[in-house]
Symmetry: C2
């Protein structure tokens, strides 16, 4: 491709809203242009790289036997009503009406469409497993689209779906996808952090996210430097870290609980001053309100009069209250709490409700004698064992007294109160210890690039997909889904591979592998340049020939910005040698014209096979 | 690919709404499934063919130096407001609002988006010409989607756009596209009928449609069997066919017009009976109302008081009236009339307006003395020459008298009335004569597969695209657009290549080139089948291996339905020979196993090179 025919248009300045390296470089190198807020067009140079990313994903999907399909992007709203997500998807789903006033959806994802397709043709277990994918346009009406194609409204996603007769079949395919994902990211030159939903063994997990580090990431990751543990902060566990402090009692006290008047003690800091002890000795008691909990609370304290509402299959308590006990130096992770309570949402109760439930204002809530709501104790306080007994992780503690202006000393969990349940509710932070190996966590911001997920029966049940098993019985298939954001993967490659001068493409996704730059595109330099171009064409090297009438400095600057891996400069003073420079390592060498094509091919092949290995 | 892993699901029955061969075969062979009205999903087998069509189009676009881009499918409504099409596109454009209530468009076409992109980076004539294309999702909310993907709501289109400094540049690129389109359709195995907007020489035309014959086509084509003339009935011209009848006067009469009482004569048929003459002797006078005509009517009869409305650049008459004269045996083509009148729409005036304008009711309207509105005479009556004189094509004619109950005999056009303008307003039908060669037209129903069109300055002007020319002056580029419907091309291939047993794929787009069918997939037959599969894999033959435990008859039937070009049956009784059968010509031969891969490869290569030639 000649530069003059390539429509490549580089920019010196970028708009102020381009704050991250990938967004800036994609604009500067003319890969993309903005059509609207969160809506981008790929120009030819950008599309070259985009298609390479797409093809690597496609190859690896095909390699594990996933079959490509192409559902429509716009689908009837009916499908989403069947699954129930018409109600739950909220404003991020674009819902145009057609000329007859019927509801349509511009697909944000395709579980519904693919489930409907499979339902139509599936009759026998012999057709299973079914494993399909698409690489197609999606739209999510993000509240705040930003960072270019990293978080756009319209984007391209590879989304795969599998259907199985058995859970074991799903486990097997799930592992195929996990391996394929590692291969894909390796080939793309991306360093991913795999984050499992739980820290179980391979295949035991029901969900795994593939994250890339990003200073503007949406997620906070907790990572162990010593083993493979990595978790989203919303779900991270850590090793129990009892007795971290000299002041903490290590064994049970025999002293009885003793009330202490603490009229001016309202915060944990106040307690530290008043009692002159580290906060690791205090039990923090927090009253939470939970919405739509689907726990069975019929025998829970204070819940005798609560009524469940909802359909026969899913009854929930619209509102219920819980008191959470946790060691005062750590924070409750509300996402974990909501999961434990099987609630749609949780929040701290308001002052009035705290007083009503606990008999005391916030700061004086206490566990002893509290029987108006279930108590959930974090493992930092105590942990119920399988045999029903508790391991007690705080001794001789101080807690609120359950009446205003008083605290209680010598509180022994298990002796002085018994929780309704114990759970891991802790917000894990950098510095906490890894539950697998004891390593000290650090944390990073990250973006999700891919996600593999065992969906279970959610869609196949709600949309009535069945098949006849070997014995002729009607069964529902179990389903998995597997996504990768194509645009985000492309932007992430640039995030990981750039310097102040521009992009540094991994060979596998470089729009062009080689830049041929004649100092002047005239006379002998032009002749040799054209000869090299013809040679390279022949052996399948993708090159950009800078035939512009520009100063060499301008050409070199553009070449660096565009990130072409190999630069070959044809200058009169070096002939019959040409200069070969690699963008990634700045290595420069003079090579005879006669050898340069072969040498270039070798560098390309080595780089690709290194990424593929 | 093994059949058991291919997800191919054939149907014996198809829904009643599948009335054309391509729709039926695409459903029966499991190429597509319906997700909603006019919204289809391609299943793996169908997508294989779809991608081949797409790639052939892509290759030919790349070959003429068009560069692929990928604008977003959803674009801001603002772009359409800039071009003015937000108002004119009507209900077929899907216009969702985002969460902020802003207007969006699910692109039905992309002139606006591409013009906006070019505007952003274009500054100098040196960047021109620009020639880009996309192969992307489009949506048009058709009133009555039907015939499967032939007329869907969502579809994939290859749409290309070019921008030029000069008209000559556009002409050149337009010709490149014309040639590329012929190559594309040839490679797809499609017989197209090129239909030019005017009958000018190559490159002189501003628009050309590439049609395929279809019994359910949207368009009616007028085709000359003797030359390359073909036109949409909306625009077709024909040779003048004067004096076709013995009863028609061939020279001017000297008799003066004479009123005849015709109290019970209301229709042309009544006139034929009353005057006992062929209808070729009568001048039909029709009063039309035109909406938004942009003609200059300031000096036209009866239009002195009409006021123009609209912007400074485009002033039109909201309503104006015209009387059309045409020989009574032929029909007025209202599309042609609207074009001549530069009107957005024309229709026959209502009774009240006819009476008011002409002084007579419909049937008695006459040309003589009519000065309340402009008269437009069809060439069948008379034709103004370049020097201002008329050639008179009817003599001694009979027309309405302009008062109820009377007609006039001995009417001489030019002597007794002078039209404001003359024009070709005739609806051309089969049997009319070709204006190029005099051949006798036949007509066909057709569907548009592709369209190339010189857009001119419509978008670049309305959206303010400029560049600096060689002399540093600001100029507006001229634009062309070039579309091909990918789904429709695919469906049309099946329309042209099928029989009662199923599809007969051209080799270039066959999802698989070969079907390997063991009579039973066991023992020696399985061994040989696997060996052939391995050999074919090695040389790049795309095969489907029918490993199902089905009767041979079922396998053969499916193979015919799927339309695989080459069928190789491995049966114990023929070994060491296998049977090779070609779907297209039913030729069957027994070939030694050792030769069959080479023979198959030869057939494939011959077929492809034949399509490419």
């Amino acid at each position: 491709m000649k530069m003059s025919k390539s429509m490549i248009s580089t920019l010196r300045e970028v708009p102020a809203d381009a704050v991250i390296a990938s967004h800036q470089n994609m604009l500067r190198s003319g890969m993309i242009r903005k059509l609207g807020n969160g809506m981008y067009a790929y120009l030819p140079f950008g599309l070259q790289a985009f298609r390479k990313v797409e093809n690597i994903i496609r190859e690896e999907m095909n390699a594990i036997g996933s079959l490509e399909i192409k559902p429509s992007v716009v689908v009837p709203g009916e499908l989403w009503k069947e699954s129930g997500r018409w109600e739950t998807m909220g404003n991020s789903m674009l819902r145009p009406k057609n000329r007859l006033g019927q509801d349509l959806v511009v697909s944000p994802t395709a579980e519904e469409a693919v489930t409907a397709l499979v339902r139509e043709d599936l009759s026998s277990y012999k057709q299973l497993p079914i494993n399909v994918y698409q690489i197609n346009t999606k739209f999510r009406d993000e509240i705040r689209p930003r960072y270019g194609v990293m978080r756009g409204r319209e984007f391209t996603m590879k989304d795969a779906y599998s259907f199985h007769a058995t859970k074991e079949g799903l486990d097997e395919t799930y592992l195929d996808f996990e391996k394929a994902y590692f291969r894909i990211f390796k080939r793309l030159g991306l360093t991913v952090i795999p984050v499992r939903a739980d820290s179980g063994a391979m295949g035991g997990s029901g969900s795994e996210e593939f994250m890339v580090e990003s200073p503007v990431g949406d997620d906070t990751l907790i990572i162990c430097p010593d083993c493979d543990y990595a978790a989203n902060t919303e779900k991270a566990s850590c090793a129990t870290d009892y007795f971290l402090d000299e002041s903490c009692a290590k064994t049970a006290t025999t002293l009885q609980p003793q009330e202490v008047a603490t009229p001016n003690v309202f915060s944990i800091d106040d307690m530290v001053s008043f009692f002159n002890m580290s906060n690791k000795n205090f039990i923090k008691a927090l009253v939470y309100v939970a919405y739509n909990s689907s726990l069975d609370l019929t025998k829970a304290p204070g819940c005798e009069k609560l009524e469940r509402e909802g359909s026969s299959t899913e009854k929930t308590y619209p509102v219920s209250y819980f008191t959470v006990l946790i060691r005062a130096d750590i924070e409750v992770n509300e996402a974990k709490l909501a999961a434990i309570l099987k609630a749609s949402d949780v929040e701290l109760a308001n002052d009035e409700d705290i007083q009503r439930i606990s008999g005391a204002p916030h700061g004086f809530v206490g566990p002893i004698g509290l029987n108006t709501c279930p108590i959930i104790a974090d493992y930092s306080v105590m942990q119920q064992q399988e045999n029903g007994t508790y391991s007690i992780n705080m001794h001789d503690a101080i807690a609120g007294a359950g009446k205003e202006g008083y605290h209680v000393k010598h509180v022994e969990p298990g002796r002085d109160f018994t929780p309704w349940a114990t759970a891991d509710l802790r917000t894990v932070i950098a510095g906490d210890k890894c539950p697998q190996c004891g390593g000290t966590f650090y944390s990073k911001k990250g973006n999700e690039l891919g996600h593999i997920f065992k969906l279970g029966y959610k869609y196949t049940e709600s949309m009535n997909v069945t098949f006849l098993d070997e014995t002729g019985k009607n069964k529902t298939p179990i389903m998995g889904c597997y996504g990768i954001g194509v645009d985000r993967a492309l932007a992430s490659i640039i995030e990981e591979h750039h310097d102040e001068n521009g992009i540094i493409w991994p060979m596998s996704v470089a729009p062009y592998q080689v830049s041929l730059i004649p100092i002047k595109y005239t006379g002998e330099m032009q002749e040799i340049c054209d000869k090299l171009a013809a040679e390279m064409q022949k052996v399948g090297i993708e090159f950009l020939l800078d035939d512009r009438n520009e100063r060499p400095g301008v050409k070199f600057k553009d070449c660096d910005l565009l990130g072409i891996p190999i630069r070959i400069v044809i200058g009169a003073k070096n002939l019959p040698n040409v200069e070969l420079k690699q963008r990634a390592n700045n290595e420069t060498e003079l090579i005879p014209v006669t050898d340069v094509t072969q040498k270039t091919l070798q560098i390309i092949q080595d780089a690709i096979s290194n990424l593929n290995s």
